[in-house]
Amino acid sequence: MSRNIYSALLIFAAILFSFPVISQDHNHDGHDHSGHNHDDHAGHDHASDQGEHGVSCGHGDEHHEYDPAATAIHHISDGNVLSIFDYPLPLPMILKSEAGLEMFMSSKFGAHFAGHENGEKSYNGYVLYEGSAHRVVDAGFPMTGSVDLGHGAFTHQVVNIDGKDKTLKYVCYENKPYKIDARTTLDGGMLGGGITSFWDLSPSKNVIAMLLVSLLLFFLFRGAAKKYKEDPLKAPSGVQGVLETLVVFIRDEVAIPFIGKGKYMKYFPFLLSIFFFVLGLNLFGQIPFFGSINATGNLTLTMVLALIVFILVNINGKKDYWQHIFWMPGVPGFVKPLLAGVEIMGLFIKPLTLMLRLAGNISAGHIAILSFIGLIFIFGDLYGTLGNGIGTVLAIPLTLFMMAIELIVAFVQAFVFAILTASYIGAAIEEHH
């Protein structure tokens, strides 16, 4: 009986999940797809020949054909609005540029329901494009106050600079395109990003997700901790029982085997924090229509976690650990420097893999789900309404299957992160006799 209810709920969820994208697709209806396609290609091919930017205003991004890759990337990216059922909930903005520090709510960008998370207003020279704040860099744009841009004010263009494709983004104001800056990235300019004209320090939707998950975990665990304090000898009940299963699992399968029975207590709270933080965010990202959170699939967050693990491991490294890195005992003298090189590389590769594994796994799951949902629109573009139907029939079982897999992945990846952290700590504090 309950199984039937669950399957019904899941199917319902899968259908609902596809709704925002369907509503987006409605914007395509009534436009001549092929015509735009030609325009687009022409624009790209002859970018350098045309005017100042080679960009024409008058039709925004929304008129493009459905692009599964762009949709997926948009949905797994961080953003400055939290879309609940395609309604963009405003979040606080903290932006820093040479014009000074600005703090306001992202409702100032005037994003509407089913509006692709694109704002219809600019505020102090900032605009909301695909959910993220961008700053207008071209001169002539009114940089103070609120400016009405209208619907579909954004366009982008792919240009080839030094043999590398680069996407330039523009905002149209009074039918003139103005270039907008990319987001600030900490890649040191390696990837064409780097320090831009502004810093976005806002608590983005991933930050909100982290706060919500942290608070939820805090209240769950505080309740459980109270019960333990009242009578530690009582059998666990309710939420306490669920949490205890996981806590005991982490202790017996992760902490004690890798760190040791005598020493694990010092690192146990950290391992539990890592495990539950990652697990909570992994599961939070599975909730459909809740902002398409992808916090643990975001490399920035996993980088931070990996960095904290890296610091914790190395400040706790004992003499033996460093000796094994720099001057491996028990091998011939000439091998020692070679091994030291490998070990020093390993020192940094360990957190790097930790960072990439989690982000890659979670993002991949989200992309797979978005791709299956995307079948509805790919078929729709090819065969119209009939295609939408075929796509839906295909998308529902595939998405259901993928969501089930994702639930497993959420647990497995949190466990893997915790167990690798424990093994790194264990290796660092091990003492050979």
């Binding site: 990003g193 976005d200 901790a225």
Partner: protein, 170 residues
């Protein structure tokens, strides 16, 4: 890897980095203090308690089995004692019976002997009496006979007496 980083969600953004560090460190600090340490300690307390309970149960069980073994030993000893006592009682009974029998036999034979002797004596006395009686009767008969035929024949009387004397009734 650079190709991976070309990917929007994989580009490190400073805002998210700062917020993540702050949130995670606060999460770690608060959760460790409020929840994880007390829970870990409570789990340890409970597990120690359970272990203690199991240990004491084991000890109690061992004690019980020891007690049982002792009881069994005692029982065996008691059983042996009982059978020994039974055997002794049987022996005593037999002894008593045998003694009684012996005594009875002795008494009986003594009584028999006495009786026999009495009988012999009585018999002798009776015989003597009978002899005397018979002698007297015979004498009186003979006297009468002889009186009739041999009045006063002393020689014959003594001869008859000697004959009577010789008659020995067993």
């Amino acid at each position: 890897m650079f190709l991976l980083l070309d990917f929007l969600p994989f580009q490190p953004s400073p805002g998210l980095a700062i917020w993540s560090v702050v949130i995670f460190l606060i999460f770690w600090a608060i959760m460790a203090k409020v929840a994880f340490k007390p829970i870990a300690q409570a789990l340890e307390t409970r597990e120690n308690d359970i272990q203690d309970a199991l240990d004491s149960a084991k000890t109690a069980k061992e004690e019980m089995s020891n007690l049982k073994a002792e009881n069994e030993k005692l029982l065996v000893v008691a059983r042996e004692e009982r059978s020994k006592m039974l055997k002794e009682a049987k022996n005593t009974k037999n002894q008593i019976i045998a003694d009684a029998k012996d005594t009875a036999k002795g008494e009986a034979s003594r009584i028999m002997t006495q009786a026999n002797q009495d009988i012999q004596n009585q018999k002798k006395a009776a015989m003597m009496e009978v002899k005397n009686e018979v002698g007297a009767i015979a004498l009186s008969i003979a006297e009468k006979v002889i009186k009739k035929e041999l009045a006063g024949n002393a020689e014959q009387e003594s001869f008859v007496n000697s004959l009577v004397k010789d008659i020995n009734l067993n």
